[in-house]
């Protein structure tokens, strides 16, 4: 198993990949597009993507990529996120003029960052921000990133646990080259469109509700060429092999202009603590 992830070593995606399989080989990539390309071209067997953060919401662009590429979702994992303020050894909080991080990292630490008198600079990656500070020897700059990023890039932790909400968690999806799920599937993600008729979305959801299949997430994304029309992404608590679910999808296909299954996979369960 070789998992491609976006970011530098020390990125939260790296930690999430290791939660799936501590022995996995890892392949850092610059962008999410590059993660998909690595799997498509065979340089990795799987790719990992953050899809939703408990306090900052959905990472919408990754839904767009799941639709654009044909790689199936084969697993999910929830990764606790502990953000820290990092800087070069010897830098004090008062010396900081700028803080680097991924926009999600900056967004998840707004309360803490408002207590600093600094410019917030969005970058491509949390751990990559630590790398920029190390590479540039930037004495006036901090980064919001993981403790592991501090170790990897030799920075100090000026303040630990600076996220706005203690219980900050990101859900990641694992995509694979073939659609073998990581274990027995009990969750399925689909994407569909509805017609412009009144009650069309209600009708779409009825195919699941009438069969007692629970919807755990519903997300809409614009269709760029068709202003104010939407794609709906839905997570359902069933495997694609369950007969009632297969019937629900056939029912939906009767009237949905577009319907695709993005993957059927085992829902993440927290490992038992020993």
């Amino acid at each position: 198993m070789r998992i491609a992830y976006q970011g530098e070593p020390g990125a939260y995606s790296e930690a999430a990949a290791l939660r799936f399989r501590p022995s996995a080989d890892l392949l850092p990539c610059e962008t999410f597009e590059a993660v998909f390309a690595a799997v498509e071209q065979g340089r990795a067997t799987h790719g990992i993507l953050p899809i939703e953060n408990s306090s900052h919401g959905t990472i919408h662009g990754n839904y767009d990529l799941l639709l654009k590429h044909e790689l199936p979702i084969v697993g999910e994992v929830k990764q606790p996120i502990v953000h820290n303020l990092l800087a070069l050894d010897g830098t004090t909080r008062e010396q900081l003029r700028r803080v680097f991080s991924h926009p999600q990292g900056l967004g998840q630490c707004q309360r803490f960052l408002r207590t600093l008198d600094v410019e917030l600079v969005p970058t491509y990656d949390t751990a990559g921000s630590a790398k920029l500070i190390r590479d540039g020897g930037l004495r006036d700059t901090g980064a919001i990133a993981s403790e592991r990023a501090a170790e990897v890039f030799g920075l100090s932790v000026l303040e630990a646990g600076v996220q706005d909400f203690a219980d900050n968690t990101t859900r990641f999806l694992l995509v694979g080259r073939d659609q073998t799920p990581l274990g027995p599937a009990d969750k399925t993600t689909i994407v569909f469109t509805v017609t412009n008729d009144a009650g069309a979305l209600f009708k779409a959801l009825s195919v699941f509700a009438l069969r007692d299949i629970d919807l755990t997430k519903l997300e809409s994304r614009p269709i760029p060429e068709r202003p104010f029309e939407f794609l709906f992404y839905a997570d359902l608590t069933a495997s694609r092999d369950d007969l009632p679910f297969a019937r629900a999808l056939m029912h939906l296909a009767e009237f949905a202009p577009l319907l695709r299954t993005l993957g059927s996979y085992p829902r993440w369960e927290e490992p038992e603590t020993e």
Copy 2:
């Protein structure tokens, strides 16, 4: 009528405000929070907020602000967005090393920007990016902004109409100090939560579908203190004064833990071209 908007003169929000009322007084503000504060403190009668772009999706943070503040939505307007690459007079495309714009501006011009060999720098505002270039005399920097921003800040248009999709439109909401809509209301925005039971969202939508009230938008936002629970924002084609709609809301209130009407207002109709 005095409308507060986020950004510098030349921002798309300014153009949207003038579509409502060409004679309105305008008050530029640094942040969306400041727009709400200006209305709450009486320095403006109304505030304008971008809520959704046809190609780049919802501006989620503004839904959070509508819930946090108590200002009702009293109108909506759709504003066509034409992005341009601006720079100081005499700067050529080849000299550009960086391009400034609001993240939405950069996101809506991805195809064009990939053809340039530049660093993309997110800023607080499209027109504000033009101002930064003028103020700093930055010869190596371009901005993605409106043609009016070029006029206001004395820049040249290096390339016009660089957005990815020709039909790029942003929908704006107008909030007011009192809830008098700008005309006869035929659209209402609500926010609600559902319990964790199977089919709960379906049940919530049924109160409208069973009364032939159409849902034109549904958006979910995380509740930060409650990981992976959601607020739902819905647009419905009815006025709060319509009896079936009032009954639907009472029906929803029977089982929704939270339900609030954010405003009832006239749906935007394109003006007839002469």
